[in-house]
Symmetry: C2
Subunit: 226 residues, 2 copies
């Protein structure tokens, strides 16, 4: 449900999804040059649709295009991620505040059920911490939906979402933040259930700030080990 299945639609849309997936999972390294002919060949399509897909990804900020010099996978340096998390804090905080007044009791209950599922997954452990990471994004997106603001959903869902997933893949391996994150999620749901928008916003902002600190430390270690 998280990843749209593009089995319908144009080749360009299909290529955009496949490329986005390859970029997010790191299959295509950051900063890597994207050769049109090569990619078109590997996808079994002409260069036309592929070029349109690249334009799409450009708008999504997953690739950076330079006229007459091709497209490259975007590089998520410290500053970019810092900016991203700052924007997320504002947008998701806002989403939480509005969601507290707009979500139905049923939706909030579903959110709570989602957290139960996450908790079960964590206890099962299976080593696949990543699954929780995807689930985390699902949690955040459900709240964005709860804001009933289509533009907010687009911004958080279609675009930043992809960048975040990209970041997660880089850092989720050694992330041990799943437990405090789950606890914070629970507090947020409780605030939503109490229809306390201000508290929900505050908690969400803190949650994201915490996530950023965690990511930031990880980047430090990564850079230090070089």
């Amino acid at each position: 449900m998280l990843v749209k299945v593009p089995e319908q639609g144009t080749l360009a849309d299909l290529a955009a999804h496949r490329l986005a997936h390859s970029i997010v999972t790191g299959e295509l390294a950051q900063g890597q040059k994207l050769n049109e002919a090569e990619l078109a060949e590997s996808f079994g399509m002409g260069r036309g649709p592929l070029r349109e897909a690249l334009r799409h990804l450009e708008g999504m900020r997953l690739v950076k295009r330079i006229p007459n010099a091709g497209a490259r996978v975007v590089v998520l340096d410290r500053k970019t991620l810092s900016d991203l998390y700052a924007v997320r804090e504002a947008l998701e905080g806002m989403a939480c505040r509005i969601a507290a007044t707009q979500m139905s009791d049923d939706e909030i209950a579903q959110l709570s059920a989602l957290l139960d599922k996450h908790e079960a997954q964590i206890k099962k452990q299976g080593g696949k911490v990543y699954a929780q990471s995807e689930g985390d994004l699902d949690f955040h997106f459900q709240i964005a939906r709860g804001s009933r603001n289509q533009m907010l959903m687009d911004l958080l869902g279609s675009e930043q979402y992809q960048l975040l997933r990209m970041c997660r893949y880089r850092t989720s391996r050694n992330a041990q933040r799943t437990k405090p994150a789950l606890s914070q999620h629970r507090q947020i749901v409780e605030a939503l259930a109490n229809r306390d928008g201000e508290l929900a916003e505050l908690l969400m902002r803190r949650h994201i700030q915490g996530a950023w600190r965690s990511i930031s430390e990880m980047i430090d270690m990564e850079e230090q080990s070089k």
Copy 2:
């Protein structure tokens, strides 16, 4: 300085700019079907670059594409604009708060000078209230720049900005909000000069809320007159 001159770059980029301009100015009506062959002909280019331009505008939310059914100019209904202004309030509020700590004294002085220019334009009156409207966007964008957050600048500058201009063209004819707006701008600059980020954010949020109320009333009148 506001509108990038696309004399450099690919035909697709040129077409994207020309189309964006036509859409924003209302030359292309909301909801109007965009015929690829027709537009390509009028721009003197093939359909390939034009299709890429449409993909670009789609990412900018200026057009909506439906597979196998073509692209249409987006329709700015009440809900869409309401959502837009809500997001703007959050983002520009954030921009203001950060800008208060990041902008140099010189930049703030330039901002103040910009307002002087606006005031002069208003007193000259010339009927062209629209010019102030563009200047208003310039003011807001300068603050976004002051946040030093590239993602924020992109969101406010490249994308929402276009939708706002589109909205302005619809409503600027009878807008008599230039004076209170200028006064609010001055207060914001003063807060920035005092390095009072919280106040600057508060003032900016109120400013945008006021703008939305004004736009909203105008939409009501428009709908009522039908």
